[in-house]
Every structure is written in C-alpha cells, then in structure tokens.
Amino acid sequence: MNLRKVTAASAAVLALSLTATACGSEDKDGDAGSSSGDKKITVGIKYDQPGLGLKTPDGSFTGFDVDVATYVAKELGYAEGDIVFKETKSADRETALERGDVDFIAATYSITDERKEKVDFAGPYLLAHQDLLIRADDNVAKGEDLNGKKLCSVTGSTSAQNVKTKFAPDAQLKQVGTYSECLNALQSGAVDALTTDDSILAGYASQDQYKGKFKLAGLELSNENYGIGVKKGDTEMLNKINAALEKMVSDKAWDEAVKANFGPANYENEPAPQIGNIVK
C-alpha cells in the first residue's frame, strides 16, 4: 500500500509543480500592469542599461529611451497605461520588428546601412559616440593608447571589434555577458577600460554604487545615431514617429529627458539631431 502512496505523492508533487509553472507563465504579460484601455502598443527597450532602459526593482522602467518611447507613444494616441514594454536584446531587434512582436523599438538602436535593409528608422533622436570608461585616476588620450591595455566589452558587441581593428590591434579583450560585469572588472583593476557608446557608459558611471569611481575618456571613436526602429515599409508609423520626435524637441521635453537621465552623469550630450540627419 505504501508504494502506491509514494507513487501518488510523487504524481501530486509533479502536478503541483506544473500548475505552479502554469501560473508563472500567465503573469508574463502583466509587466505593464493592468489598464483600462482596449488597444495597446508594444515597445521594445533594453532592460539592463541604466540611463537608457532599465528595469528597476519595483518593476517599472526608467531611462532616456524609455522617456522618448513614452512620449512618442502618447503622441501616437496611447495612454501611459497602454504602453507595454518588452525586452529586445541587441541580437533580437530586427527579428522582433519583422515578426511584429513589437510596434517600435527604442533600444540604443544605431542607424546603420546594414540594418536599414531589414527595418526602417525614424529619427535619429540622439547622437552618441563610442567612448571609453576608465577609472577616475586613469587617463587615455587617444584610441592608439589602448595598445597593450586590457579592454572589456559584451559578447557580440561591435564596439570592441571597432577598437581592435581601427585603433589598437594589440589591446587585450575580455568579453562578458553584461556591462555591469565589465564595471566590476574595471573597479577591481582586472581590466583598464570598458568601451561602448558614451550614453550607455554615462548611465553606468552615474549609478549610486559607482559614483566618482569612473570617468569617460572623452574620445569620439565613432558616431552612433540612435533611431527608432519600425517595421520595414510602415511609412505611416514612421512619419508619425518623426513628427512626434520633432515635437518632443520643440516643446523642450527632449531637453528635460536628457537632463533627467544623463544629468547626474555629467554627460555632455550632443544637441538634439535633425530628423533624417545621420552623422556618418
């Protein structure tokens, strides 16, 4: 009899764990909270980049990309509660647009010719540059100084490759999963510099835990024109977003968003770019 009980017990445990996971999967769509509106708009952002797109402990989102996306969505006629944010990792962005998983993407999305073949870009809404983050007591005057130094970047990022091919072929490159792990290595001296867009670096440098420990080297190693990605051929959406971006600049909301998100980082941002003016 005991055996049967044991078997039944394990079956029950299994069933329980299954129902538990079933519940777990349902609340996945509840990220944006419940709202009264009947039509929603889904926006792709980053979840792990302070200053641009970050999922905070209380489950809400902050950052410049988030503010721009929210402004644009409101201009498109959606209430704040009807915006659903979704994580789009760098590698997934084109596919997410092509498949219609998201309506538009504001996720440190640089406009490049290669990407333009697959998606359309509104904007640009921010001009960033590839730069280095170094320890506050360190100095790097030009890209070539990186030869023989230790550099950190995330796997699959083009910035590190850019440095190696254009400036410092002898730099050592450590590749990790997220930028915060680079900061950890930078802080303890395991690497000498972290490279990616200055806007992203500024966000990290201004996190409370890191305040005063790091600084930007101030090198403009490349031009990154952040655009809002939309599905290829969706001209109506494209024009509406461009109009919204123009309005955001003209009614100073753009400046406020920059100040709110980059202000604490002492990030000297470029002025708001003209729509369609892509700096090569």
Binding site: N2, T7, G24, D92, A96, D101, T178, N184
Partner: protein
C-alpha cells in the same frame, strides 16, 4: 565511528589526529581569511551590496521569476522526456532487431553529445525554420535540448529498471498466457516504475543544473540570467553569485533528499520484487548519491 580501514585510535594516534585537525583548521582558516580579506579590500562585504537580498523586491522582480523559469524548463523537460525515454528503453529491449537496433543508435548518439550542442542547434533551428517569438524561443530551445539528452538517459534508467526484475515475473506472465505487450504494460512496467523513482528524481537535479546553460548562452531568463539583470541594478556581482549558488544548492539538496527518502522508503517496503535503482546503476553519468552518507561500516 570506527571504520574497517583503521583501528580505534590509541593515545599516539589520537595525538596525531589532533595534530592533523589543527593543521587542517589552520589551512582552512588561512583560506577563509584570505577570501574575506580580499572581499573586504574590494568592498564586496559592504552591506549596501548585500542589503537588496533582505528586501522583497530583489526577489519578486528578479530572482523568483528566474527561479520560476528554471523550474518550468526542468519540469517540462522531465515530463516530455519521461514517456519518450520509456518508449526508447522498451524499444531497446524488443525482440526485433529492427526495433532494438535503431533505438540503441538513437540512445547512444544523444548520450554522446553535449547537451549544450543540442540546445544551440534547437535555438538556431527554431529561429530559422519557425516563427516562434523571441520570448519563448530560448525556453523551447532549452527544453528541446534537455529532452533529447535526457530521454536517452532515462531510456537507460527504464531499461535497467525492467532488467532488474527477476526473470520469474516474465515467465509467470507467459505461463498465464499474457502477450508480450501485456506483460510489459501490466507486469514489468508497474513494478519497475517504483524501482526507478529515486533515479528519476536524481536525474531532475541534473536537469535543473543544465537549465543554467540556457541562461549563459541562449539568454534564457532563468536564475543565472536573472542574476545579471539584478547585478545591473545593485552592482553586486559577487554577492549575487553567492546568493544564486545558495538557491541552487538548497533546491538540489531538497531534490536529493527526496530521492534518498524515496529510496529508503522503497527498500523498506520490499514489496516490489526488484532492486531499487540508483542513478549510477542506471547509467546516468552524474550520479547523485544520498547527502551526508559516510563510509559504510564494512564494504
């Protein structure tokens, strides 16, 4: 405790043992002291880095959803792999060579391949050939990889479970006129299932551990991956690793304890005629023995 390997210690041996103990304590102490000193030096012991784990938000926003995904992938993999494995295991016992042969090839093939390769393949396959959304693709890929690998491991568990039954069972079934299929479904399988249970639970530990691969290489948002997002907010790489490792240890210790409890229980029950299978006997490559077992009194 006395072991067969050495006598109850006399005065000399006792002194020597104390000496060894002291030496070992010094070594361990030095190691711990160094680790703590480095952590203190690098500011990793700052309460600000550990504090988030005492607050509910760090768990509800990052770690618990990650743990949920870990458990979901593990449970799905087990539930799908089990019937597949049973089918393959029974097929390997078939009297027909054309069934036995291919089943054997499939089992040996998937057991020889790293589960990560299977996951990478599945991920790319789903991304090229299906229109699965990028939210669920990593989950599907992880589960597919785990199922392919574990079905073949479980096939061996099932086969060993059936083979562990006394021959008399099959003979008696034949004597009362049951057909082969009937013998399998109503005599052999029910008895072997109870014998296999501990090995199945132990395999669950291996599955849980393998889900972390998906987090590191396929961006599957399980516990290890959730640690990354958490550390982006709190800048606490070392503390978050320690906490995540602890969660895994506790989870797997619960599973192993459950497995050994089942095993003891089944041994005592003695109702099944077969032996109770251990993961090792069943050919699982990462055997998980009972926790805290010391050397038996005599071999």
């Amino acid at each position: 405790m006395t072991s067969v390997l050495y006598d109850a210690p006399g005065p000399g041996a006792k002194r020597r043992n104390v000496l060894y103990t002291v030496g070992f304590v010094v070594l361990l102490g030095l190691g711990c002291w160094w680790a703590l000193a480095v952590m203190a030096d690098k500011g990793q012991l700052d309460w600000a880095l550990w504090e988030p784990f005492t607050q509910a938000q760090a768990w509800t926003t990052y770690l618990l959803p990650g743990l949920g995904n870990t458990l979901k992938a593990a449970a799905l993999a087990m539930v799908i792999a089990l019937p597949l494995g049973a089918l393959l295991g029974i097929a390997r016992l078939s009297d027909h060579r054309w069934v036995r042969g291919p089943a054997g090839v499939v089992v040996e093939f998937f057991r020889a391949i790293p589960v990560l390769l299977l996951m990478l393949f599945a991920n790319q396959f789903y991304s090229v050939s299906t229109d699965l959304s990028s939210d669920v693709r990593p989950l599907y890929a992880v589960v597919t990889g785990l199922v392919l690998y574990n079905a073949s491991v479980l096939a061996e568990v099932v086969r060993a479970g059936i083979l562990s039954l006394p021959k008399g069972q099959t003979e008696a079934a034949k004597a009362i006129g049951l057909r082969k299929g009937q013998t399998m479904t109503s005599i052999l399988l029910p008895q072997s299932v109870t014998a296999m249970l501990p090995a199945l639970v132990s395999q669950l530990v291996v599955i849980v551990k393998d889900t972390a691969l998906g987090g590191a290489l396929l961006a599957f948002p399980e516990l290890l991956n959730a640690r990354g997002t958490l550390a982006a907010n709190y800048a606490n790489v070392i503390p978050s690793f320690i906490v995540v490792a602890l969660v895994f240890i506790v989870l797997n210790l619960i599973l192993t304890s459950f497995a050994s409890w089942l095993e003891r229980r089944l041994r005592r029950a003695k109702r099944s005629s077969g032996a109770v299978l251990h993961a090792e006997q069943a050919g699982a490559e990462e055997p998980v023995a009972e926790p805290g077992v010391t050397t038996k009194e005599g071999p």
